[in-house]
Symmetry: C2
């Protein structure tokens, strides 16, 4: 009988909501300043839209919707066959299900662009703040339902878009008061490295392995590369590249000498262009660091790869809190070729945890009702209701305690809800057309004329 | 290959989003003014939380989530048995699914209250604006995913809560500029009627039948009542009650004479109390009408029943756009007794349709980028980026066209996105540290100093 919620999901109470809204509002405001337009897509997509877009593991993590009224199906035999298939493999569920919950906001966006291309002007800058669902094993900081806040530009290959997105990152975390480091790489550099060590066919293995450098360390990465079939010679060639040191400029110059092939040079040039242009514009809160070990484990990036880490003495958070990159063929999977896209995604849930840890939520982020009218009884109620209406018209939140309860209970309600002012209107006040107002923080009480109420609250 | 979205779901583009946000923001602001606190609950609930709460038909309309990794289940035999059961009845899906998408916001709220009761202060006023899903047959104006905007008070039986909610309705539609009629009934009046005609066991049938009066007319309602087993005598007794005419006061007075039993009298008293108190406070946009044929087809209401209809010459919309009521045992289903709740729910999607029909969206509701910087090339870009950063700091949205495209294309972008100002910075402007600004509505162009930009836009 005791109710519960599914594992990996969460309820958000009023206090969490005000903090979450503070994060969403901050991100949304910056997106809008930069000219991104909001869209929303349905929670469910057709399975055909989602399947095969997130790799084999991703397919397993989709939350699939059971087709309705299975028991009414006229083809029970087919149903049995489909069910047998389901028992064999996770992806054979086509009669049992034909829809699933969205897994990210990028694939639905690509689908959106293809469906609505005739109503759109390109380049199209869109933002989208919605929840996504993944049937992942829940653990600390990893949920089955969480929000993504995405901004993408589609239909433009200009690196000015990357610059725009990096400025957005700077501004968002600047407004949130959090120091960060933007790590930047380029998929073409990774391709150049693979070509250099003559292992183009192993670019994914290389990418996946060196992406783990932060987590598992140098030795384990080299072991993994060896296990993936890289020769000792190739690994020796790789070492000076992935362990390169120095500031952005010197790193890129060294790389430019080592990775002499076309694709590698192109990637380094792109990195240089972006860093040179955006570097001087970033606030002191936001460092930028080229990092050729950054791969984000994703194979669809074709240009810039972006990841943001906390760089703030008040936080020990190590996971990325924002990430993104460029994919030259975002909509090709849905039949629309030559649409390059670049985008970033803020992880609101992780940002929440960091801001809590670093104590960075402003004190006034919490929304509280401003005035509680104590309920003394029938006679005074109408008087209170009229005053409350006046406060509402002046955009001041105010409530009357609905029950004629004991004073202690009513004051306790003001306390629990952090309501700063309590209005006391008894028979005397009613007769004099006044209000006794108690300021909860000081305990001070004063009697004011009815007509002064709105101004009294506004100037307090 | 052509992508599509599931039937009954929708994409929302930028223009729809700004209009939708206008509705949500309006409702949210009024909820907050009245001291309601926001919560959010997960999209998925355990099936045990939802099943049996919406009647037999409701159970059929739940979108159920297929359990993950069925093919890995070690109990394939049990699975087969469960599947056989699924084929027999819609509700036997316990091995295939154990979660479903929420169907409304009321049951999740009741579940929330029971789970978090120890962290809450009662009475608790909460609002919740989230989407819900129903596997209903899609048709015009009826979607499988749609938003509800709910405000409820739990833990107080005072009728001041009903009054508060009616004032919220008045304010929301007042701000939206739409004339409405609030229809008000009380479940106790319906119970009193059933007692009067000696058909207490048929109260649900009576309720369901007279609820259809608006839709199917008097004759058909009487036929339905007869078909449900009501005697001719009972029907004759019923007629003067359900066809009662007059203003609120006279209707209630007549009823008070006819329905002489305790429960009926109690219901009429409650109606009188609410109408007398709230009537004088409502704006001229908002009429209130007691209507004892109003039942909302829902059996869980125990007191007030509320429904809002459009009453505006600019709209022919007849469905209800907001509704609610009181249920004395909201959380009893989850084991917490004696928690009376009263609430209302705004149907954002229907309100959207009405505001479109009546042309009531304000012109400035649409969010547009304020300034487009034309991209003339490398040399001017850094200059533009710096100016854009200044505009952003002043909270003015501005973008540079990312490509060095033909003038016509860039101006076309400003047109398509309704951007009011275009900034033109070529080599001359760069040299003089000026900006040529074109106002798109007039075609006027003028050259201003770089330092004047922010003020120029702000005062335009």
């Amino acid at each position: 009988m005791k109710p519960s919620i599914p594992r990996g999901t969460r309820d958000f109470g009023p206090q969490e909501m005000t903090r979450r809204n503070y994060i969403f509002d901050t991100i949304r405001d910056v997106f809008k300043l930069h000219g991104y337009l909001q869209i929303e897509t349905p929670a469910m997509e057709n399975l055909s839209t989602l399947t095969g877009k997130y790799g084999e593991e991703g397919d397993q993590l989709l939350f699939k919707i059971l087709n309705s009224r299975l028991h009414e199906s006229k083809e029970k035999e087919n149903l049995q066959k489909a069910f047998d298939k389901t028992l064999q493999s996770a992806t054979n569920t086509d009669v049992l299900t034909e829809r699933a919950l969205r897994y990210d906001l990028t694939v639905p966006f690509a689908r959106y662009v293809v469906m609505h291309q005739n109503d759109m002007t390109f380049p199209f800058k869109r933002y989208q703040i919605q929840n996504v669902w993944r049937a992942d094993k829940p653990q600390k900081g990893r949920y089955r339902e969480f929000y993504q806040c995405d901004a993408d530009v589609i239909g433009s290959t200009s690196l000015l878009n990357e610059i725009d997105l990096l400025l957005i990152i700077d501004e968002v975390f600047g407004k949130l008061g959090l120091g960060v480091t933007i790590k930047l790489n380029n998929r073409k550099v990774l391709a150049g490295i693979a070509e250099l060590i003559d292992a183009q066919d192993k670019i994914i293995d290389i990418t996946v392995a060196i992406d783990k450098l932060d987590k598992i360390g140098e030795q384990k990465v080299l072991e993994e590369l060896f296990a993936k079939g890289l020769s000792n010679e190739a690994i020796e060639k790789l070492k000076p590249i992935i362990f390169i040191q120095g500031n952005n400029e010197s790193k890129l110059e060294s790389l430019q000498k080592i990775i002499a092939n076309d694709i590698g040079q192109k990637g380094i040039e792109e990195l240089k262009y972006i860093v040179e242009k955006v570097g001087p514009m970033l606030s002191s809160n936001c460092k930028i660091e080229t990092d050729i070990t950054l791969a984000r484990g994703l194979n669809y990036y074709t240009g810039a790869i972006i990841e943001v880490k906390v760089n703030d003495s008040r936080s020990e958070f190590t996971s990325s809190i924002c990430g993104g990159g460029r994919y030259d063929d975002l909509t090709g999977i849905f039949g629309l070729a030559n649409m390059s896209g670049v985008g970033i995604s803020f992880g609101a849930d992780r940002i929440y945890d960091v801001l809590m840890e670093a104590n960075l939520f402003p004190n006034d982020v919490e929304f509280n009702t401003q005035v509680l009218f104590v309920n003394f009884g029938e006679a005074e109620q109408q008087y209170c209701l009229t005053l409350i209406k006046q406060l509402h018209s002046a955009n001041i939140s105010a409530v009357m305690f609905p029950e004629q309860a004991k004073m202690k209970k009513q004051m306790g309600y003001a306390d629990a809800n952090k309501i700063p002012f309590v209005a006391l209107i008894g028979s005397q006040e009613l007769q004099d057309q006044t209000i006794t107002i108690k300021q909860m923080s000081t305990g001070n009480q004063q009697c004011i004329a009815k007509s002064e109420l709105v101004n009294f609250i506004l100037k307090s």
